[in-house]
Amino acid sequence: MVKMTGSQAIVKCLQEEGVKTIFGYPGGAVIDLFDALMDSDITNVLVRHEQGAVHAADSFSRVTGEVGVALLTSGPGATNGVTGIATAYCDSIPMVILTGQVPRSLIGNDAFQEVDIVGITRPCTKHNYLVSNKEDLVPVLREAFYIARTGRPGPVLVDLPKDLMAGQLTYPEQKPIRMQNYQPTYEPHIGQIAKACKQILKSRKPVLYVGGGVILSDAHKALEELAINLNIPVTMTLMGLGAFPGSHPLSMGMLGMHGSYTANMAVAQSDLLIAVGARFDDRVTGKLEEFACNAKIIHIDIDPTSISKNVKVDIPIVADCQYALTAINSWFSKEPGINIKEEAAQHEAWLETIREWSAKYPMTYKEEGELIKPQYVIEMLDKLTGGNAIITTEVGQNQMWTAQFFKFNKPRHFVTSGGLGTMGFGLPAAIGAQMAFPDRLVIDVAGDGSIQMNIQELATAKQYNCPVKIAILNNSYLGMVRQWQELFYDKRYASTVMEVTPDFVKLAEAYGAVGLRATKKSEVVPVIEKALASNNVVIMDFSIAREENVYPMVPAGKATTEMLLV
């Protein structure tokens, strides 16, 4: 039994969990913990705002699959992290957030920098803890990591009173974690798998509708096997992009509000919707009554609450996506009397219809001379990076154009705030991804609005030599809201005109980064090439066609077949 301080115990516990990099910001309540970290091999990335710490740790997790760790001080440090925590919660990202708390004797006294962060984050964490005695400290941390990474993943917050971190304790031995009250279901019910497979055999117009769950459970290989063997077209949610290769002929791209014509039509006309790790979000379904109304629905999800929450499901399968898809694949390979090739050929007519839709209404935009179209910028980014970059985005039009025009062929290469839609996510996310993979190319596609929400993280990028590239699609508008105002509010641009926008080139230079600008279409490629050749942080400021809209678009509350097209 080893005696040590609470802070040293936390560090040791982090090391046992395999943590190498954390993102944090110090303060009075966590000063002991930062002190103990100095003696360890764990790198703390000192961000410039706690929101940035949580987003960066979140992104670190999204690209690696490991648990992301953020460390914040009490009071305002913790509350600044709340948006980041909610972002991770909405996208089911495994994270542990450590917050300092005032000493136990002061809790409840309105002490300096005291907030009830456990109370505040209860609805936006998978679980949270206030550690109230030293014997619990290490077991709680271990449990936090366990809960964060198992089942439907999510952020877990551990609030750590200062006196516990400063005091002495005996480090407990590691024991396997068993929780009577928390036992996620991984293995699918075999009967349900057989039912699903038989339904797939009956179907002539099947569609795979896949979400972030496929990426979280590393089920992309099993998904590819199912889709390709049985010739089933695939559409992805925003969070699912990369789960299936975007350039594959069976990919229909994204579905929903800004999804492709093909994907939305296919879902509407399909006779079998196979939902995998997706949750029938309102941005995907549009008007619920008309969503996939001709289809039987199979829904695979590890979280029972997702099933039949919005849309009544015919064949529910509560399981880890990878386990369930593997079970389906093995059913098809083992079940006697099934000729996979023949079954796949049954879907040829359906695929022909889909090809016709794609040919007639491809994802497209209008060229206008030397005006820079944002979609063109995304296409060029895709082309010039060979599709190999990790792309993060902010939120709004920039995010949708990226989702539509960048062909994501691999999982964990697209990092975006889907569920919560958090502006200011992209830059800290790019830093988190770059810290995870220092040798890869990381690009943040931003808007001029969003980038200003966490622009201070440029300093973090510089300090830790994260040569992230930032492509600002600059229209001096809050473009997505402006688009809604144009289409549904009589062009009354209430508070969406950014009358003052900083000179992003000079701003980059002020931080020691490189600033580049393109104002004409012909400048786009040279600017991207120059940015990619630099080993510095680079801001590319693209002055885009100001009132370019994101199309297709399904107006909120309408059926997804009622798309506004280019």
Binding site: V118, R122, P123, L130, N181, P304, T305
Partner: protein
């Protein structure tokens, strides 16, 4: 439809607010809620009465189960069960109504637990509907104060065993 849920949870600080926060955050309603320790001091039993169609009750049950501190959720109104609620009522009891109040309380198998020259305080237990019937009878006489516990419930033992 009214449903009575019996929920076993870890007896820890903050657990109740996880449950109530879930209901308020998701727009589910709570008609009554009653919670106390079980034989195992580490576990509490919470009885909760709520309303909703089948899909809402299904969501409530699943969402409750998703809370890490929740051990077991049973919709006991799906089977045979007994439910009880206790009420304490202080009733105006002046000379002309004193006898009548006692008669009513007697019919409801209640007990007088406090007496003053102008009022009785009585204790009555029963199902929520019995308590409501009593309240309706006593109202015209004059209820001065009322405190209800909310429903607690237990499934009936299986008859086959």
């Amino acid at each position: 439809m009214k449903h009575t849920l019996s929920v076993l949870l870890q007896n820890k600080p903050g657990v109740l607010s996880r449950v109530t926060g879930l209901f308020s955050g998701r727009g589910f309603n709570i008609e009554s809620l009653c919670v106390a320790e079980t034989l195992d001091p580490g576990i509490s039993c919470l009885t909760l009465v709520t309303r909703g169609d089948n899909s809402i009750i299904e969501q409530i049950t699943k969402q409750l189960h998703k809370l890490i501190d929740v051990i077991k959720v049973t919709d006991i109104s799906e089977k045979e069960y007994v439910e009880r609620e206790m009420v304490l009522i202080r009733i105006k009891a002046e000379s002309q109504t004193r006898a009548e109040v006692l008669r009513v309380i007697d019919i409801f198998r209640g007990k007088v637990v406090d007496v003053s020259s102008r009022s009785y305080a009585v204790e009555v237990t029963g199902s929520a509907s019995k308590i409501q019937a009593l309240i309706d009878l006593l109202k015209p006489i004059g209820i001065k104060e009322i405190v209800r516990t909310g429903t607690i419930a237990m499934a009936r033992a299986s008859k086959n065993k």
